[in-house]
């Protein structure tokens, strides 16, 4: 009984992780940037939504728009202000990663200064539970699952069927080649960051209704997004979504038998297992050397 309840919660959490991971995977596969600050996008969007609804008393829809704008703005700005200048100096992967990490640390701590370390949550229609027979699920959880179920396939369709998607896939295959052919890849890099950052917004605005938000979640979320992406297969967006779902379920079902102290270890344990046994991930095919 508890198992099914946890499974349901796991799917909901997994839906959120999947969205965030898809954003990360999109950015990584097209621009080869390890956007470690991706979790910050999530946190900023969540806090923006929270502040708009709670403090400024905006209508949730307007707050969502605000959160989306902030997410996109942040993602694109970090790329323009930090990553792009570094790409020009041919900075190594690790240097870029360290810078990304630095951004994460700075913004998370600014959030701590601004909002403090405690969890903020919202209550409203979305946080109310809904009963389905013996199970209780919150509306927010259901919404998250629904949104993920709609948006992730949408992203995949865009990748497969649209001109933009084709271009993204070409970039994923060979970034230098694309530049040689004279396309303005700069513009598409910006788009990748914009769309990738947008992906986190549904999860971010629902977070205050589900577990509450806290600056530290930015780090955890980034790590899970990366873990999900790797587990799913680093070049596969569908894989990232699958990985996110898997981790969400594993984390929640895992504490059925293990104490909750193990929760963070579960995701990483799975990640380590994959890295050792199947580094190409679930849907990954190429073990390409950087």
């Amino acid at each position: 009984m508890l198992f099914w309840q946890l499974l349901l919660q796991g799917i909901a959490a997994g839906a959120g992780y999947a969205l965030i991971a898809v954003g990360f995977a999109l950015i990584y596969s097209t621009t080869r940037t390890f956007h470690f600050a991706h979790g910050v996008t999530y946190a900023l969007a969540a806090y923006a939504y929270y502040a708009a609804v709670q403090t400024l008393h905006w209508h949730p829809a307007a707050a969502v728009v605000l959160a989306a704008c902030i997410a996109v703005l942040f993602g694109v700005s970090v790329d323009a202000l930090v990553y792009q200048p570094m790409r020009r100096t041919a900075a190594s992967f690790l240097t870029l990663f360290a810078a990304s990490f630095g951004v994460l640390v700075v913004v998370v701590n600014c959030l701590v200064l601004g909002f403090g370390n405690s969890f903020y949550s919202l209550s409203g229609a979305l946080s109310r539970g809904v009963e389905y027979g013996p199970f209780v699920v919150s509306m927010a959880n259901l919404t998250e699952i629904a949104l993920a179920a709609v948006l992730i396939p949408l992203v995949l369709v865009v990748m497969r069927r649209t001109r933009l998607g084709t271009f993204f896939r070409a970039m994923a295959d060979n970034n230098e080649l694309v530049e040689v052919f004279g396309f303005r890849s700069r513009r598409y890099v910006r788009l990748a960051f914009a769309i990738g950052s947008l992906c986190v917004v549904p999860a971010a605005v629902l977070a205050p209704y589900i577990g509450g938000i806290q600056p530290g979640t930015a780090t955890v979320v980034t790590l899970i997004a990366i873990a999900a992406t790797i587990i799913g297969g680093i070049d596969s967006i569908a894989g990232a979504a699958l990985g996110g779902l898997l981790l969400g379920v594993a984390e929640n079902v895992g504490i059925w038998k293990l104490s909750s102290a193990w929760k963070p270890a579960i995701s990483f344990g799975i990640l380590l297992l994959f890295l050792i046994v199947r580094p190409t991930g679930i849907l990954g095919a190429r073990g390409r050397r950087a």
Binding site: F34, V82, P85, M86, T89, A90, A91, S92, F93, L94, T95, L96, F97, A98, A99, F101, G102, V103, L104, V105, V106, V108, N109, C110, V112, L113, L223, I226, A227, I230, I234, S259, A261, W262, P264, A265, S267, F268, G269, L271, L272, L275, I276, P279, G287, R289, A290
Partner: protein, 295 residues
């Protein structure tokens, strides 16, 4: 004032040893390890247990801690080093998270959340070290030993092979170097050296618990190496100095303690970002001001 400074000096000494040990991975072997606090912790716990149950002799405890931690580093590295660069970073973080959980849950070995307390004072050549001054001398002695080891390493064929590997891996392979083997050995050495720091810490504070060995501390150690400058002997010292002394400075300037933590982190974060953008070689390259060369 003096006890305060002595304490700071000892902690600085331990930080330098840890930063040097991490530098073997980051700076010499090119392994971006964000899990170094695990080796620090393992060293501390093993030394503590040894002191509590066998002997408080410092050299013996430290030796045992080094062997254990070196072996641990080796075992972790074997599967993890096989993965690509990008994955390694994440794998390291993942391993740190798992290890933190183990530190908390494995009550038998680590005393769980409460940790291990009542660690007897260190004994060196029969003498019990009680005063902070004595621990400072011990710390400096250990740091000197580590420095000698590092100098020897850098000047050895092994050190040169590592440098070649960092410079151009393909050429190094063509000239017969084995990247995985070299990195495994470097990781083992780095882990063993971290255990020295762990042992010093355990004896000095006479108490160890999981809170000192978290991801946050791993990140701090990484920051020391990066800010100071990886790949040099002076860099980690500068980085350790900066990161250990800076909070003390903020304290002095009477920054409110609720704000202290975040402000520190913001400064470190900004420094990392700015350095990576404009001076990737770290503070130690301030004299050169060269643009960062591609790895």
């Amino acid at each position: 004032m003096l006890p305060y400074l002595l304490n700071l000096a000892i902690l600085l000494g331990i930080a330098v040893i840890l930063a040097w040990s991490l530098n073997v991975l980051i700076g010499y072997a090119g392994i971006f390890s964000v899990m170094h606090a695990v080796f620090y912790g393992a060293g501390a716990y093993v030394a503590a247990q040894f002191a509590l149950h066998v002997s408080a002799d410092f050299m013996l405890s430290t030796l045992v801690a080094m062997v254990f931690t070196g072996a641990l580093a080796f075992l972790v590295a074997v599967p993890v080093l096989r993965v690509r660069e990008e994955y390694f970073v994440v794998a390291a973080i993942g391993f740190q998270m798992v290890a933190s959980t183990v530190f908390i849950t494995w009550e038998g070995a680590t005393g769980g959340m409460g940790g291990l307390s009542g660690i007897p004072p260190a004994k060196v050549l029969g003498f019990e070290l009680i005063s902070p001054a004595a621990y400072l001398v011990l710390t400096l002695a250990c740091a000197a030993v580590c420095l000698l080891a590092l100098v020897a390493l850098v000047r050895s064929p092994f050190g040169r092979a590592l440098k070649a590997l960092r410079d151009d891996e393909t050429a190094a392979i063509a000239l017969g170097k084995h990247p995985v083997k070299l990195r495994l050995i470097a990781t083992t050495i780095g882990g063993a050296m971290a255990a020295i720091g762990g042992s010093l810490y355990a004896f000095y504070v006479s108490f160890v618990n999981p809170e000192s060995f978290t991801l946050d501390y791993s990140v701090l150690l990484m920051a020391m190496v990066i800010i100071g400058g990886a790949g040099s002997l002076l860099g980690p010292v500068l980085g350790a100095l900066f990161i250990t002394v800076f909070p003390a400075l903020l304290n002095f300037l009477q920054v409110p303690s609720s704000v202290l933590g975040p402000v520190q982190q913001i400064v470190y974060g900004m420094m990392i970002v700015l350095l990576m953008m404009f001076m990737p070689e770290g503070l130690v390259s301030a004299g050169k001001l060269l643009p960062g060369r591609r790895k």
